[in-house]
Subunit: 444 residues, 2 copies
């Protein structure tokens, strides 16, 4: 295909997605849930064909692995089986069970007798989601998009293209069976070229959610003319204050580093007040070392730990404070005060999740106010930063941007609002100096 | 200055704004209001020096006008006088009187005994506002930024540079007198080069609000790597349904076109149902014509109005449906149905404000749901789309984007939220299969 053919095909796809989004936006919760339940059924019924397509991907992934073009973990993420298909089906059912985020009256104001203003939540419209490897993301995202009333264009990784394609086909069939006008509410973008064009279509596309590598997300941020929701980094800190409790320090720090080091809400840097007991610090680091963690410490920390020769310490360099290891490595820095900890965090942190361990409640409150991050925790592991743990029901991603939605983003992040004004034939010319005044009363 | 010098000066400015923003974010409402009242006083006390600096701009603006580099209306917008300074002072006082949008608990969830999650509104951080001509915008934006707890970098037009500079100086002095650490919460960007660099600083800047010409806003959207809040177009429609009331049709349509044709919420296109009485349509257009409006009608409309030779009609071309005239021109199109009106609006509209005139309440509700716009009105003029009229108290701008804030944006659009988690030393390792379950209870 020539580039202009690609371009016109994409415009057609986005236009169809837009049309479907307008129909979907006005489906009530009952009908949206019915589709989600039908989708769960369809997934179970089509498990054989899903697994067959997945097997094709796995063969291809094996070849890519041999050629060094895919990592073992990336290949493993492509794999589907009966249990995973059942999980996908259950995912649809649990999204159906969530509250409809759309159509809620957020605010109601009587501007005048017979002139009522309502601010009502509504879907955003057409969303592009870019993701890697795991084909079950197709179902997860589509279910959230349907429930919130948005059309979605999905771009998955090449390594799962057959799986993604069969899953998207099942969703589109289910939509079409409910209403032909809904079929295009979910579609796949095929190529990188297509994505490169989509991210520039600010008039046609409403939001981009990139999920995947830091490089991918940074690339999208740099090139997109459409709003982007997501996070590139998760450089989270644990600050152990001089007034910290020993048991709390240990559980919070070890959990934050060890529970799942490969993810964005794991801790990367430990900040330790100079008066925090060295004995306790040594105990925490010894446990980390036993769990296989490499300890990169500042000079001051090394000095504090001289009496603990069993600890294998390497000296941290400046770059360690900027590194999201997502691995069994931790950097440790001594700080003179909570102020210094906050300055370090606000300078090096990724605005994701930051925690203080202290028994000083006033200091904790101050820390939580002064630290500029989506999540600010007191005596709790950074790993709690997660849509399921927060009780959001489902998560479309985690946002470190500071507009629209921040932190773990659930269905609520997929809606915006519109103002509905119910009048009686009024023009603004009736109001103003020497004329009528506005009431601006809340409607209850 | 070399470009690297410019660059390092800007980084310094943004860094200082960030530092000030963190202090400002934690000022309580009482202290923020105190600063706003002091600022009002300072404006009144410094009126002589403000007017002197403004006089320098007016002299320069006169020269620019002679050379054709500035329009008469742009020059007039630069002019300040005692009444306008008093208005600015009152603006500070009225912003002080508004509710603090920051620090509100939006949601509170008990994740477990001793593990409480609060979603609390907080300032966005550092905002760049770009505007043209009117120096009073410096005070208006700064007052809203202070009240919401955000630091702001302002870039005004060259034609008002001395006025902008003296006003920013007064704000900075007032801030410094309250607390030295606050001085840099407001600063001016001096050059276009500076703006070109600022819009790329996604790690340092949180939001850009461009106000001004369509070209300026489109340029920012295209080049920014930082989220942008604003609107480029205001192409609003009035749809007269077959079930419309005569008096309501007349008031809504005339008000929407004539009350203030130069602004974004004025109507540009009138859509008329084929069964809407021709007599009424002719009456509306006659009144428009008398007010100096040029009438550009579709062929079908021309046919409908054959019996009204007093109407001077020109034939609309395709481009008329895409034009934001912001002038005494209206395009008129006959449509076969409300569906056709909605299709036209969703295709050509700018997602700003759209209104239907009808006595059919079911159809009105359907229209308001199906039309994809920030404001959807029933029997009311599009001109009501305004922060003051909506009762928002103050307006930072109007957004046609579909994330973060939509429609007229008040103080609420200048805040986001952070999640505060109050724990007791927990790690996530305590929860899961065969372990503790989350409670996820609403805290009331």
């Amino acid at each position: 295909m020539s580039s202009s053919q690609v371009s016109s095909a994409i415009h057609q796809q986005v236009k169809q997605a837009r049309e479907a989004s307008l129909v979907l936006a006005n489906l009530d919760n009952f009908h949206k849930n019915k589709i989600l339940h039908k989708l769960a059924e369809a997934l179970r019924e089509n498990s054989v064909v899903i697994l067959a397509e997945n097997a094709r991907d796995m063969t291809e992934a094996g070849t890519m692995l041999e050629r060094g073009k895919l990592s073992v973990s990336a290949r493993n993420r492509v794999l589907l089986n009966h249990a995973k298909i059942e999980q996908m089906a259950q995912n649809c059912e649990s999204v159906a069970a969530l509250q409809d985020p759309s159509g809620k009256i957020i605010q109601a104001t009587r501007l005048d007798e017979g002139l009522d203003l309502y601010r009502v939540s509504c879907p955003i419209g057409v969303i592009l989601v870019i993701f890697e490897s795991r084909p079950d993301v197709v179902i997860q995202i589509s279910a959230l998009a349907l429930k919130s009333g948005n059309a979605v264009i999905l771009k998955g990784g090449k390594e799962a293209q057959n799986s993604n394609s069969v899953l998207a086909g099942i969703i589109r069939d289910t939509l079409a069976k409910s209403d032909n006008a809904l079929e295009n509410a979910v579609s796949l973008a095929e190529s990188r070229d297509e994505v490169a064009q989509l991210v520039k279509m600010s008039a046609e596309l409403d939001l981009i959610i990139p999920r995947g590598s830091k490089e991918l997300i940074q690339h999208i941020h740099k090139n997109a003319e459409v709003p982007v929701l997501g996070h590139a980094d998760g450089l989270c800190h644990v600050y152990l204050d001089q007034a910290a409790d020993e048991a709390k320090s240990i559980e919070v720090t070890l959990d934050a580093k060890l529970d799942y080091p490969a993810v964005c809400n794991a801790a990367e840097t430990l900040l330790v007040h100079q008066k925090y007991p060295n004995q306790w610090l040594a105990e925490i680091l010894r446990k980390m070392q036993e769990a296989g963690v490499e300890l990169r410490v500042c000079r001051e920390t090394r000095k504090r730990l001289e009496r603990f020769p069993e600890l294998k310490l390497t000296t941290a360099i400046e770059e360690d404070w900027t590194m999201e290891y997502t691995d069994l490595i931790i950097s440790v820095k001594s700080v003179k005060s909570a102020e210094d900890a906050v300055i370090h965090i606000n300078h090096f942190g990724s605005k994701h999740t930051e925690t203080i361990v202290t028994e000083n409640s006033q200091l904790a409150e101050w820390f939580m106010n002064m630290v500029d991050a989506a999540g600010v925790f007191w005596n709790a592991s950074t790993r709690f930063a997660d849509g399921f743990r927060y009780g959001l029901g489902a998560e479309i991603g985690v946002s470190t941007s500071k507009t629209h939605a921040r932190g773990p983003v659930g269905l609520e992040g997929l809606v915006i609002y519109k103002y509905k004004l119910y009048g009686n034939g009024q023009g603004v010319g009736r109001y103003g100096h020497g004329k009528r005044d506005f009431l601006h009363e809340e409607i209850t």
